[in-house]
Amino acid sequence: MGDALLPAWSLGWREIVRFHRDRARVVSGIATALLFWMLIGFGMRGSFTPAGMPSGVGAVEYLFPGTVVFVVLVTAIVGTFSLIEDRRSGFLQGVIVAPVPRASIVLGKVLGGASIALLQGVVLLPLLGALGIPAGLPGILLGLVALFAMAFTLTCIGFVVAWGMESIQGFHGIVNLLLLPLWFLSGALFPLDGAAGPLKVLMRLDPLAYGLAAFRQALYGRADVAFADPATAWCVTMGFAAATFGAAVLVSRR
């Protein structure tokens, strides 16, 4: 087992070091997060009252968890660019020719990418207090687990798309096609309760909706802030993470 974990750890470590050394990525990552939050939050202030939410939860507050998730997801997906870069530069060839199981390679890349994405989300968490979301430390920690699971999942999806991909443009196109509907239907912008019938069905089919539900429930410490009960939310989230990881490993063996 040590044989498989050491390479994974090292590959993950490399992703984080690269991120840290690329000042532009660090600064733009944080700036995007803040900008996004301000635009969505304040721009839509008072324009709607989220349906089915406990009283007192306004638009800005409602949008906050979804915004954090968005920032994390985009970072996770963008992070898998590095796979295309590695392939182009020849670095990946050097990794593949080493006696390392493919699952370790995937695990390393994905853990590294997901950690960076999670970090971006963490930057936003101090705003919880300003919004009056009553999250305690255990709630925040549990919320981070949910965020990490979503980041992990999206990095796996990015990995699957990026593996056979030669151009960054092509990658962009496919990823947008996946990421935007997933996020839009996740309940990040409007609650399921207020949605029209067919949209409700689609939202229930969106695995990300369960991740966001788990995240909201963790932050509020109560179940009635999302459409699914916590057990379902966590099962679907973890199951989806495992499934996408499996897909990434399969793809990497081709």
Partner: protein
Amino acid sequence: MAVVRLGHRYRHRPALEDVSFEVGRGELFGLLGPNGGGKTTLLRILATLLVPESGRAEIAGRDVLREPVAVRRRIGVVFQDPGLDPWLTPAENLRHQGHLYGLRGTELAERTARLLDELGVAGRADDLVRTLSGGLRRRVELAKGLLHDPDVLLLDEPTVGLDPGGRREFWRSVGRVRGEREVTVLVTTHLMHEAEACDRVGILDRGRLVALGSPQELESGIRGDVVALETAEPDRLAAAVAERFATEAQVVDGIVRIERLDGAALVPRLAESFPGMIRSITVGRPTLDDVFVQRTGHRLRDGAPGELGNEDEPSDG
């Protein structure tokens, strides 16, 4: 290391046809050939990255097809494309490489320090790779390939993109490395003088192995000297020379080429016989270039521009 009857095609274009050779332990073996000749394909098969359509290959007694993981442990590979992470330092690149091979801790640190020192990169060990010159980077790659102490080192066109000074330094490094440990080196190149420095050479052209032996053996297969004539009308001149001197005269890329025992003696007679037709005459001892011409009927171009792309890859996807 043995390669037996290896064959491979990309779509319908043959990349390797019935290639067989053996490389002895500790030998420096050069695969010489033009870009697209099949060198990289062969190297990718040996590196377990490509499954050949026919034939088999063995490295350190392990079958490349049946025991790829065992083979991977025993080979170090330096690819033509840069394999270092430019955002990491040489020391970090090597540490990462070591982890991939299950090395860690003090042993890894010691090996890294020793190799960087041996290859003259120790002074830059903690600078980002992106700030290093091409020559230094290549030497770090060599260190990376040697880190897990492989039996066989595979180098794919390791000096492409380096200036002559960088090339010389790289080859000096290879020499130093071979002096320190028993490692078999297989190197591909399209440069004649790099192949001349190898213990033995295989010449690959259009997927076929057209010559195999030490550079001296191969060169002594050509008797005497090689006389090359530059002219405006190569075909006419070749025919005339062949008739007049009862010798064979080939036209290769617009140059008339004659193999003769007494090359020098032929020069004045040629100049006398064909006044005004000959632009220049050169006489030389046969080189691997001449061996290549003799075996293939065409020249091996030394790094002509536009030919330095990623050879051998199927261009149609």
